[in-house]
Symmetry: C2
């Protein structure tokens, strides 16, 4: 007899179980879980937003870093114009929580996604990017079908070597093609993000990379202006570089994302002396599940931490991370550590916040040792 | 005025949107998505199960590899005794879909998880592992509170250098401590998995590693027998090594997981001439979102592929993967490739199936070019 019921449950499982409840002590939080230190997060938010606002630019916080709508709403409350994200599916989730101004900083390709973007443009102020003429008609048709207007930015390749157009004439041609589809489409400006600048360790190197990008962007803005095309938005910049976009006189908004959480990869940057200090607001909370003298094993591994930017750092004095496997992190003594017993908890700092948060369903927002909120990473897994 | 509503939505978002519907053509599947080739998967299943059954052992398929209950039910239909998994949360999900015999091949630590395990033991045949005396009382108290019996295995360290006990006297002491808690706990046997053997490239090296493990296990089984303790289960083995556990005369069940999906890390093993051939049943389906001559960019990156075991392999002739960032995979020409246009689809083979599947909410099960099922990765993210 088959083990397979004739009718399988139609749905996915329900909402994922949460590791904590508001009001819990830290000791009651089940593991592995991601902790968000609210005091540190708020200081990061205040410091960076004040710096950007003092320069007179708009803040468009990058939601891809945290995928957490309640956190996005706090960024907006603290002065962000809106958010950006990378996927239409993320935009849908943020919109459903009340975010009103969203930029998808990525190419939106294919009729299915164009359809969803066009529908969403009827509910919030939405813009998307493109770098290929073939997408203009696809987006326009979808917007006409829904009777909406989609904002469109042309993505530039300003030295990232990934998506985007570098040739000024090609940018002008795309902008004209977009304008030709008015009112279904509206040319909104330029997405010019130099991701490869963000983790150059020396501030001077980051500044130079951004200055090179700015020279390119300036030429393109002038080429557009010469054809009567103005850029409502010149947008880009990240946690590692935003200071330099602020100084450019060219960008009118910046898109930092990781600043609010911080990870050890950004922590390894030598900070610019003029930048507000950033603290590690994000950590992981793990339990020792095996204690073998010089070695202890924690209950989160590759399914709890992204390792593309290196191993996480354990905050237990005298211990260091040795290796990760799917469900385990092995830590070993590194000096005069006190032993760890089975059941003890330790914190770790993730190396790369964006793909780490994407592994978790919840952010446990703590103030000191007390859980204040348990926030859903509601756009987690919104891949398309 | 604050952007934050007085009352935030209480729930997580609802079930995640699916990239396809049964009956769709492959061209209609939204991207990035994971494809499961049913013909290849079924051949993997038949080949491996036949080989294990011919040796007279039981199959306990490892659910951590796929986290997908409908796939687990097919493994059981094809002769598996039950499944194993790594987390109580995974066990809860599999149980809710009708899996009746579950082994958590990991330490279950702390009162909260013991509580849930004890509750679940009232619904399915459940066993968990431990390697520390402190857990015996915690598990027993929980089982008594629920009036259930929890099966308990002692995890051995058979050369993995992670969790587990190596000393025979310590194993005997743990088994006696477990037996002393009858009927709340029942000593069921030994979990003896040598993970480090699985990816040794030469079959002879894998065989030797397992033979070393077996020598240890044999000593421990004898030490237990000398105290009147018998092992209902001696369980372990994986896709890379199960042939050698089959020959041991010592193990009575094996726990392969990746065999059903396969990834390029297992594909890089030199196969044992006696092993049934395994095909890559799992692939990722991506769209070209930017085409820049010698370079094309795909719409899945670090949030669609785990890279702990290397980059994914693209199946477009003449192209190779160059780099991944959070949302993008850059592929470059590598010989006489035909150009790729924006909107085209390509397949990629993941390097490590377990943490890759954990990034996705659905497996799109295809037969040829047609979607037969869209199966939820219902235990995805079940971290605790």
């Amino acid at each position: 007899m088959s083990a397979i019921p004739a009718t399988l449950p139609a749905a996915h499982r329900g909402p994922p179980p949460a590791p904590a409840q508001p009001g819990d002590d830290l000791a009651q939080v089940d593991t592995p879980a991601l902790l968000l230190d609210l005091d540190v997060m708020e200081a990061n938010l205040r410091g960076v937003h004040a710096r950007i606002q003092a320069a007179g630019l708009r803040i468009r916080a990058h939601g891809k870093a945290h995928k957490c709508p309640p956190l996005a709403l706090r960024q907006i409350d603290a002065g962000a114009q809106g958010i950006c994200c990378q996927k239409v599916g993320e935009a849908e989730v943020f919109a459903s929580w009340g975010v009103q101004d969203i930029l998808v900083t990525n190419q939106v390709v294919g009729p299915a996604k164009a359809e969803r973007a066009a529908r969403l443009a009827g509910q919030v102020r939405l813009a998307v990017c493109l770098d290929d003429a073939a997408q203009v008609a696809v987006l326009a048709q979808a917007a006409r079908r829904h009777g909406t207007q989609l904002g469109v930015l042309v993505e530039l390749d300003v030295g990232q070597g990934r998506c985007g157009v570098a040739d000024p004439a090609a940018v002008v041609a795309l902008a004209q093609a977009i304008e030709a589809q008015a009112p279904a489409l509206a040319f909104r400006g330029l997405q010019a993000y130099r991701g490869s600048a963000q983790h150059l360790r020396e501030p001077q190197a980051r500044r130079q990379a951004v200055e090179q990008a700015c020279a390119q962007v300036r030429t393109i803005v002038q080429a557009l202006a010469a054809r009567g095309l103005s850029c409502e938005l010149v947008t880009g910049g990240g946690t590692g570089s935003y200071l330099y976009e602020l100084e450019s006189g060219l960008y009118n908004e910046v898109q930092p994302g990781s600043y609010v959480l911080m990870d050890t990869d950004y922590g390894a940057n030598q900070p610019d002396p003029q930048a507000p200090a950033l603290g590690h607001a994000l950590s992981a909370w793990c339990t020792v599940i095996s204690a073998q003298g010089e070695r202890a094993v924690l209950d989160g591994g590759l399914k709890a931490f992204a390792v593309d930017a290196g191993l996480p750092r354990v905050l237990a004095p005298g211990w260091k991370v040795s290796s990760l496997s799917d469900e385990h992190t092995v830590i070993v003594k590194d000096g005069g550590a006190r032993p760890l017993a089975v059941g003890e908890r330790v914190r770790l700092l993730p190396s790369h916040c964006d793909p780490t948060v994407n592994l978790h369903d919840w952010l446990v927002a703590v103030r000191g040792e007390r859980v204040e909120h348990v926030w859903p990473v509601a756009a987690r897994g919104a891949l398309f």
